[in-house]
Symmetry: C2
Subunit: 278 residues, 2 copies
Amino acid sequence: MRSPAANAELALLLEVAGTPKPGNVDRHRDLAGLRFEHFLAGAVGARPGLADAESGAPVGEAFERAVAGMSDQSGGNTQFGCLLLLTPLVRAAAERGLTPESVSNVVEHTTVADAAGFYRAFDHVDVAVPDLPDDAYALDVRRGSDAVPELESRGLTLSDVMAESAPADGNAVEWTSGFPRTFAAADHIESGDGLILDRAADAFLFLLADEPDSLVAGQHGPETAREVSERASELLDAPRADVAAFADDLVARGVNPGTTADITSAALFVALERGVSV
Amino acid sequence: MRSPAANAELALLLEVAGTPKPGNVDRHRDLAGLRFEHFLAGAVGARPGLADAESGAPVGEAFERAVAGMSDQSGGNTQFGCLLLLTPLVRAAAERGLTPESVSNVVEHTTVADAAGFYRAFDHVDVAVPDLPDDAYALDVRRGSDAVPELESRGLTLSDVMAESAPADGNAVEWTSGFPRTFAAADHIESGDGLILDRAADAFLFLLADEPDSLVAGQHGPETAREVSERASELLDAPRADVAAFADDLVARGVNPGTTADITSAALFVALERGVSV
């Protein structure tokens, strides 16, 4: 039986292999400079950090180690957001079984040191984040570890930091509300009956149709994010070839629903922990 | 920096993702009942056994654990032969640096207990092996752990068992001769200048052209193995589309050069350990 850390790594691999996953790297598509193999190496590199989360290391420290390992490839950021979701989920799975309550409990117990680990993770890799108003500079995540003294002086925990980032960041919303979309997509995967990689792609489309992607909103504006989500809704029961055409279109336009991919990986993890087989 | 166990897992993933890899599962091809996702899960599951090899566990024990973990998916045997090559290579890399001499040293020091671990690994998964003459029944690997008393009474080490299996089994030949094809293909990967997944596919074709595949010879006869190897030679400088057509042809014919894929994964591991980047 695979450990939670192994299931988390496998979730990362199934996520990137699921196809078509419109706008994202998948089994049959690369982005410019960010290719399939970078995600394979990112998943392998993240494993020791995920194992730390499993064995009870502080969430922020485990996350930072996972991100540092993930970054040991030349493509840049591959799975930062995935790991942000997976780290508390792995911890919850190892601690007391995986439920919205158990992962909320992990979130609630995060500390200022966990927040510092989260900020330090930004030292390892460039992450796409929206511009902030000038008065938010002190806690801009792009400052990485330079922002840690400010965090400490304000006494902000990682849960506080996530609450600050929600609702603009879909991953932060998951963190602060019991991972509702993660568990809903896991149900979707569990109740599906196709091949696991098809179910991964279906879960992605289900999530994209459900809500505009927050990374797309940050990079291309809310109007584009809404348009992409509406198109996904229209394609929910469409032939796979139509979804593939949409995937090619988004790649060509440089529209990358990355938050949706993050939540897909988290949902795959939950489904694997519940016994969905590969 | 990735550990030897992490590089070995990554080598398994790069091997299966390299495309076109005629007759094998690759990024764009599945076989009947044996699909890409089974190899992803196989690689993830093998990691603890590979980590054992890295930290000095007996080779046979580490191999058995890697195979047991690999088998935790529904496709059947995905990477048994790869792991047979990777286990001593990981051990050598962790012990004293990776050279033909260091891995030969690992092989020479294997024990009867290692041979027992190797046989026990067959309890976890069905492996395609050629039929043996009746008088070889006592040590038929398909007997798995049932053959262990016989091994013990004859005092056979894992190195002895491999010497017995060579030259019919290409992996056993690697084991007993300092992994010459593994290191040659690693040189080929290292000196290449394309994307790593293209270099993985090139290494596979290079190896297939170099020698008939022993799994193909066992399953379809030496004539087919020679024909496939000759066709690979003709395609060494051909456009990738021609290699892809050959790949589709072999999949359709059910011809699977699995030993060549095993050695490709071992070569990728050596190349990663030497610093080839992803």
